[in-house]
Amino acid sequence: MTNLLPAVSRRWVAVWQRIYLAWRKVALGSLMYSTIEPLLYMLGMGYGLGKLVGELNGLPYIVFVATGSICFSAYMGASFEALYSAFARMHIQRTWEGILNAPVSLDDILFAEWVFAACKAAMAGTFYLIAMALMGLVKTPLALLTLPVLFLVGLCAAGIALAVTSQAKSYDFFSYFITLAVTPMSLLCDVFFPIAQMPAAVQWFANVLPLTHAVAIVRPLLTGQWPVGIALHALVLFSYGAIGFIIATRLMRKRILG
């Protein structure tokens, strides 16, 4: 318990399997949502607004939007999982409390939650990719590399979100976080609006936010280019996620184990 860093054993896999099995039971509804949502975004923003905008940075606007919002969708998916669903398992259903009676540590549980949320991000990305492919918006094999990147985006989002969950008393708490710290990234981080057109101060701020770095890797990959500075962008994403997760572990230990 005195470990500063999370101490994870192989038992985390068993917890991951538990979350997965529960998810599979409701997967159909969840899958519908995961496919319809990106299609609506692309059709609405891409074709609707695209008529007015034309091309951006040499890309049709619908491609610009799709390659940005795939990242945002992954980020949101992982955040929701690590906020609402993890909170339900921690507080409402008391699933964690049950698991802790078995030879599984709190760190194992948290690691499983973290990885599962990231898997959901990658899965949201998969559906987005399928939708894009069906619409003929993605043609390069590099596109497949976005899946591990979106997993990383999920680790980033979920690490931060788990730290937030550790302080939550009810679901209401999450609305503030989503409204103030997640949704604004869709406006600032090159998702719908190009970052280059923003004032310098906003650009500087946007470059600190994790989603900007996600888009900086994913958009080139989906349009057939190798991303410039990919290692740095990936490092930023991983750092956010890992630091968030370490903080989450410490706060959760205090909350759950007293």
């Binding site: 318990m1 054993s9 038992r11 896999v13 068993a14 917890v15 399997q17 538990r18 099995l21 529960a22 039971k25 409701v26 259903q93 008391r94 699933t95 409390e97 049950g98 698991i99 802790l100 009676n101 078995a102 030879p103 599984v104 540590s105 184990l257 007293g258």
Partner: protein, 302 residues
């Protein structure tokens, strides 16, 4: 050899000290009952015994492992039936066991092999594919017990296992716990039901305000704490009864509309009361409930 040993354990939450210098030893093969009013520190104590809460001071050893440092290692050989059901509501009975087995590192195949036997033991034959949501309260409790047995534990910890159950369901749980004791499983149980404690437990500790206030077998506790016989008196003539009983009772208590007369000589007391009208009497041997009330008082606890 002891299975669980607490030495001078304290637990503070800020200013509040919930456990104050508690020492307990659960010997192998015992069915050890932990009794105490609400807020006595039972749940906190159980959490510390499983390494899920760190004592502010004192030492705890579970199955040869120092807690909370080696808690995960120790819990491999422990089964737990928590106070609140935390079965997975979306899963079937068999899936609950499968998932639980994985937490102990059991292969799916070996859990599946055990499933039928364990469900049968818990009175849930053929319920493999029944979703938990369709089970009654008693069945859920039994499934929780079944789940706690998946790793063939040497030590079983139960926190109020029969609260909220009907008499049939309680008797079934008791039968199963006795059977487990026969098989050599050591048990630690908390309960508010004194008849349950008297029936099941070989050792009892009463705790209140975080301290142990009594320890012994049920018989020892009754013999050492209470007069052997009790006459309960009901009816309109309680005031007269109290006066009449005073000379023949070691101690008299009134709770609402009932008079409790504790005595070593029930015959003389009964004779004295027989002359009074407007009362009804019940003569019985002293039981654990009398002990519990004497030790912890009649006031309501929150």
């Amino acid at each position: 050899m002891s299975v669980l040993k607490l030495e001078a354990v304290h637990k503070r939450f800020g200013e509040r000290e919930v456990v104050r210098g508690l020492s307990l030893t659960v010997e192998r093969g015992a069915c050890f009952g932990l009794l105490g009013p609400n807020g006595a520190g039972k749940t906190t104590t159980l959490k510390m015994c499983l390494g899920l809460s760190t004592p502010s001071a004192g030492r705890i050893n579970l199955l040869g492992h120092v807690l909370p440092k080696e808690a995960v290692e120790a819990r491999k050989r422990v089964g737990v039936v928590p106070q609140f059901d935390n079965l997975d509501p979306d899963f079937t009975c068999a899936e609950n066991l499968l998932v639980w087995g994985r937490y102990f590192g059991l292969s799916d195949a070996s859990t599946r092999k055990k499933t039928a036997d364990i469900l049968e033991f818990a009175g849930l034959i053929g319920r493999d594919d029944t979703p938990v949501q369709q089970l009654s309260g008693g069945m859920k409790r039994r499934l929780t017990l079944a789940r706690a047995l998946i790793n063939d534990p040497e030590f079983l910890v139960l926190d109020e296992p029969t609260t909220g159950l009907d008499p049939q369901a309680r008797h079934l749980i008791w039968d199963r716990l006795k059977e487990l004791t026969r098989r050599g499983v050591t048990i630690l149980i908390t309960t508010h039901f004194m008849d349950e404690a008297e029936r099941l437990c070989t050792q009892l500790a009463v705790i209140d305000r975080g301290q142990r206030i009594a320890l012994g077998t049920p018989r020892e506790l009754i013999a050492n704490t209470s007069e052997p016989e009790v006459i309960e008196v009901y009816g309109d003539g309680l005031a007269f009864a109290r006066t009449a009983a005073a000379a023949f009772s070691a101690r008299i208590e009134q709770s609402g509309e009932t008079l409790f007369c504790y005595t070593a000589d029930a015959r003389a007391l009964m004779q004295a009361l027989a002359q009074l009208k407007d009362i009804r009497t019940l003569h019985r041997p002293a039981n654990l409930e009398d002990v519990f009330i004497k030790l912890t008082g009649r006031e309501l606890r929150d």
